[in-house]
Structures are given as structure tokens and as C-alpha cells.
Amino acid sequence: MRFRFNFLAPVVAVAACISAAAQTPDYKNVGRTPTAQEVQALDIAVSTEGKELPPGSGNAKTGARLYQQKCAACHGENQEGSAQAPKLVGGRGTLASLHPVMTAGSYWPFATTIFDYIRRAMPRYQEGSLKADEVYSLAAFILYRNDIIKEDDVIDATTLPKIKMPNRDGFIPQNLDEIHDYKKRGCKLGHCP
């Protein structure tokens, strides 16, 4: 395999005396194994498949109450947005216009991003303060207000990644496996078709 180390340590030691530059060192003892707690504390990114989602659940009813306490001051009583924070509902059917309204409901391709972003970055100035149940509830509330789920649907690690967002197919290329190849996509001059 390509990224293996050179296990011929004695040979390396001898060769190092002759020409250090010609060898790939094994960088012995640089870095240490993280503890499980260290990894857990940092492992907050959620994939589109949702494998990293924590235990817990919520629905739009509990989310509505939390929203008024934690979110309404910036995002507005009715998710209409303000100078401080964007609108959270509506906008479907506006993307092909000169004034698209790009909300979680009209634009965001993955429901897992709603959970991930609320947990990592909301509420502003109290980032990281919400518990998993609260994040699920708020995600459920936003999805409900955008007519994507019903008010009493339970949102958790199983149900959230299964939600197909209205604009999931609105991105080019649609297939995630095709994104990485800039040239194959026909991108040039810093622009993709």
C-alpha cells in the first residue's frame, strides 16, 4: 500500500549517515494517539448519511417553543429573518428568478446540514450550548415550517438523513461521486458549467 512506512529501520539508519535527504523518515514519535474523549469532543461534523448523528430526538412542537426562546430574537417571530439573521422559511419556486429566496426549505440540499449547523454554530454567541434533543427539535421545527415534515413527526438519527430536501437535485453535478473531478465536469477559467 502506498502510504506504508519504511520498516527497514536499520537500513535507514545506515543510509542516513550517507545521505539523509534520500530517505523518507518515519517521523518516529511525532504526534500521539488521541484519547476517545478528545476525538468525541471534536467529532461534530455530520455526513449526509448521518452516521455521526447522536442519540436523541425531537419534533416540531417542542422545537416551536425552543425557537421562541433561542432563535426568534434574530430570525424573527415567524422565521422571517432580520438584519442580523436570514429568513428560515419560504422561497420555493423562486430559484429561477433574479431574486431567489434561498432558505433551508427552498435551497438547502441536505437535512443533515440543518442539524450540523445548528449544533456547531447556533445560537450566535452561545454556540455549542444546545443539547442533542434540542437540536433535533429545532431542525424538526424548521422542516415543519417549510412543509417538509408533519408537526408531530419524530426527527432523530434514523429519520433525519432519510428526508429528501426539495432542492436536493438542484445542484450540478447531482452525484456526490462526480464532484471532485474539476476537469471532467468541464470547469474552466475558474467557472463550472
Binding site: A45, M102, F110, T113, G170, L176
Partner: protein, 430 residues
């Protein structure tokens, strides 16, 4: 151990002490290097750490032409622009490098407490201190960083960019170029052992918003590095102190500052910014996402918008060229509104994915004219006109100013109009 190693170790110890003191400075004024009030006299002494002449006033500006601090409630997300019209050579001073962090202030990080975790689809996850990273071989490379929205003619600050009064800071202030020093990510990835199913890396920052970005493994193994140095000293807090990702030639958003974690995964994670704010919306309602690479681009910095020529006679036209595609191969200048183009002189070292300084001798006859520049990179791509760009986008040119979104990567040729009175104005038109 070689004889000179002990000297180096005592140096490192001293550096660590200095780094500890610098934390106070970051707390009192994020991103600035002014000595903190409680620092010892020798650190306040300008013989210890210099300042520029009091006659030099070049400064970053908030994106809509405002100085920091922005008014209460104002979206700081729009960043601070590099005064590129005042630039000389090809390196941007760290203190003037443009700043965009989606509205987040730099976290106050003690490098002795900071770590980088590399985990996910690897043979052995490892955690590194900042000092650990400096035990690896280093690279020092000149690279530009450019914001996706640099020069966007529409969106929240579009009107400042298209105004006849726009300066080069308004039109091109979201690009900067530094000599970055750090450790190649490929060395770290080989050290932890990449599993074959790993196709992307996810970088994550330490600021309050914990910015996250997905980058393909091919790029990560190619020329990406983890930078701890900028222009010969430690990174500035506003540039990611103590460590950041450096992703040469790609949209600024990839260059995660205050880097704390890299996870190797199978697919892009679709973080909020990369999946909902940085895609570029087409008129048909579909979006291009993950456009990665910044295109070939130039700007004449002198004479440029807001400057004034002192009567007819000789002027050296000076500017910057760069391309995410690699080396800039040729730069041309037109002094007659694009009717004729002639090769400019390259006046700085040429590095791939870095700013290049060019010059072009010009005798101004005192009449109104339009100055333009364009470059061609090593893959043969030439900086487009507005019309050529519109054609590639399959839109009419006025789409770029009419759209309610941000037309990203807007690298069209920049025209500057020279008026008979010597004043210079932005002449971009759609």
C-alpha cells in the same frame, strides 16, 4: 543529535515564552500585533518589533468602504479588503491581507494549548501539538488567497464594485499573496496512513462558528499544506494563528483558519457554507457547487480608480496577475480600450498560484483612454472579458449586475478610464 540542535532547542524555548506573551496582545486587539499594555518594556520598544512610518496610511477597509469596527448589527460577514492599489511587489503584508471569517472574530488561541487531530479513515489517528508540526520538514511557498466573491458585481456589496468611483480595493481587494510556511499535508496523511476508501478530507476551525470544509483527497495529497508561518513570522490571528489550511489556487473558503481537526471520509460532508452559501446559482435555478479553482486574473493597481495622473508624460503601468491554474505565462496590457494588446514585463518572481507583479511603460498623451490588462496561465486559459464570461455562463452580460445572488469567481478584465484631467475611474460595464 547534531551539535547545533541544543542551540535550536533553547531558541524554541525562548520562542515559546514569546508566544505566551503574544496571547495578551491578541486579547486586547484581535489580529493586531501592537504590544499589550502589560508587556515588558523591551516588547513595546520599536527596536524590538517595528512599525511603519507615521506617513504611511494604507489600510484595510470594510467591504462597503467602512472602517472597522462596523456599525452595530452590521453584517461583518462581508470582510475587510486589502488596499491593493497601494501594493508594491507581489507580497501582501500580513497586516493588510484581506480578512473574511464569515463574521467571526479570531479566537484567542495559546499555541501551547492548541492541537490538530487527524482521524477518520486512517490507519492510526494522531493528535499533534503546534510544536509537533514544526518537527516535520517545512515548505515555504508564495500563494495568493482569493475570496470566491472578489469583485462580484452583484450581491450585498456589488454596487460598490461597479461604481465609477470604485478603487482597486473595492474591485479586487479580496485577493492577497503571502509567503506561507508550513508542513505538507501529504506528509501528515502518509504518517497517519490513509485508508483506500478515504476520498475527502473535512477541515474544521476553532472559531465560534467552527467553520468546516470538504476537500477532495487528490488535492489534499497534492499541494495542500498546514501553514504556521506567513511572510517570515507566525500567522496573524486574523489569518488563522496558530495554524491554518493552505489550499493553493482554490476558493478562499477552503483555507480553514484556526485549524483544529482533519477527518478523512468517503464523501463531502456538505457543511452549511459549502453547500448553501458558496454554490453559484444559474438563471435556470440550478446551482454549480464546489467550483474549487480560481481562474486567471489581473488588475492594474497604478493607475487605478481614485488615483490621479499629474499631466501628460511617462507612467509605468503596474499591476498584479495570478491564476489558480498554476503559473502565469504571459501578461498583456492595452492602453487603447482593448484595440491593441502588448506584452507586459514581468517584474517579480513567478510562482505557481501566486501574485506576479507586471509593468508596462506608457506615454500618456493627455487624452481620455481606457487601460486594461489580461493574463494567460500555464494551462492556456486566458482571462475573459465580461462578454466571454457571460457566454460561458449562458447569460446576457447584465445578468452579472441584475442577479440577486453573488456571481462568484468574477474574473473579467478590469478597465480603468483615464480622464483628460488625469483622474482615473472604474469603467466596468455590462
Amino acid at each position: 543529535m547534531k551539535p547545533n540542535d541544543s542551540g535550536r532547542r533553547s531558541f524554541l524555548k525562548k520562542s515559546a515564552a514569546l508566544a505566551g506573551l503574544a496571547v495578551g496582545a491578541a486579547r486586547s486587539a484581535p489580529g493586531q500585533t501592537a504590544a499589550p499594555e502589560n508587556s515588558p518594556a523591551w516588547l513595546k520598544d520599536l527596536h524590538g518589533y517595528g512599525e511603519r512610518s507615521r506617513f504611511e496610511t494604507s489600510a484595510r477597509l470594510g467591504a462597503p468602504g467602512l472602517y472597522d469596527p462596523a456599525p452595530a448589527g452590521y453584517h461583518q460577514d462581508f470582510g475587510w479588503r486589502n488596499p491593493i492599489q497601494d501594493s508594491v511587489g507581489y507580497i501582501t503584508p500580513a497586516s493588510l491581507h484581506f480578512v473574511i471569517a464569515h463574521g467571526y472574530e479570531p479566537p484567542d488561541i495559546d499555541p501551547a494549548e492548541h492541537h490538530l487531530l487527524i482521524h477518520g479513515l486512517v490507519e492510526k489517528p494522531l493528535i499533534f501539538s503546534v510544536d509537533d508540526l514544526k518537527r516535520f520538514p517545512s515548505v515555504t511557498r508564495a500563494h495568493f488567497l482569493e475570496c470566491n466573491a472578489n469583485g462580484a458585481p452583484a450581491g450585498p456589496t456589488g454596487r460598490f464594485r461597479v461604481s465609477p468611483d470604485a478603487t482597486a480595493q473595492d474591485t479586487h481587494g479580496f485577493t492577497s499573496c503571502s509567503l506561507w510556511t508550513g508542513v505538507p499535508l501529504s506528509i501528515l496523511l502518509k504518517h497517519v496512513g490513509v485508508k483506500p476508501e478515504a476520498k475527502w478530507i473535512i477541515g474544521e476551525g476553532s472559531e465560534k462558528g467552527k467553520h468546516t470544509k470538504s476537500i477532495p483527497i487528490e488535492k489534499a495529497m497534492d499541494d495542500v499544506f498546514i501553514a504556521y508561518g506567513q511572510n517570515g513570522e507566525a500567522l496573524r490571528p486574523q489569518q488563522g494563528y496558530p495554524i491554518r489550511l493552505l489550499v493553493p489556487g482554490w476558493e478562499g473558503i477552503n483555507n480553514v483558519k484556526w485549524l483544529r481537526k482533519i477527518k478523512l471520509v468517503e464523501e463531502p460532508y456538505m457543511g452549511m457554507w459549502e453547500s448553501t452559501k458558496y454554490p453559484s446559482l444559474r438563471p435556470d435555478g440550478l446551482s454549480r457547487w464546489f467550483q474549487f479553482q480560481m481562474g486567471p486574473r489581473t488588475v492594474i493597481t497604478r493607475p487605478s480608480g481614485g488615483q490621479k495622473l499629474n499631466g501628460p508624460g511617462f507612467y509605468e503601468i503596474s499591476g498584479l496577475a495570478w491564476s489558480g491554474g498554476g503559473l502565469v505565462k504571459s501578461i498583456e496590457v492595452s492602453t487603447d480600450n482593448g484595440q491593441t494588446w502588448r506584452e507586459a514585463e514581468i517584474q517579480s518572481p513567478v510562482f505557481p498560484k501566486a501574485h506576479v507583479r507586471f509593468g508596462f511603460g506608457w506615454d500618456w498623451n493627455g487624452e481620455e483612454t481606457i487601460l486594461q490588462s489580461r493574463c494567460t496561465d500555464e494551462v492556456g486559459e486566458r482571462q475573459p472579458t465580461v462578454v466571454e464570461l457571460a457566454k460561458f455562463w449562458k447569460v446576457e452580460p447584465d445578468f452579472f449586475v441584475k442577479t440577486g445572488t453573488i456571481p462568484g469567481h468574477f474574473n473579467a478584465i478590469q478597465p480603468w478610464k483615464v480622464n483628460p484631467d488625469g483622474s482615473v475611474q472604474n469603467a466596468i460595464s455590462f
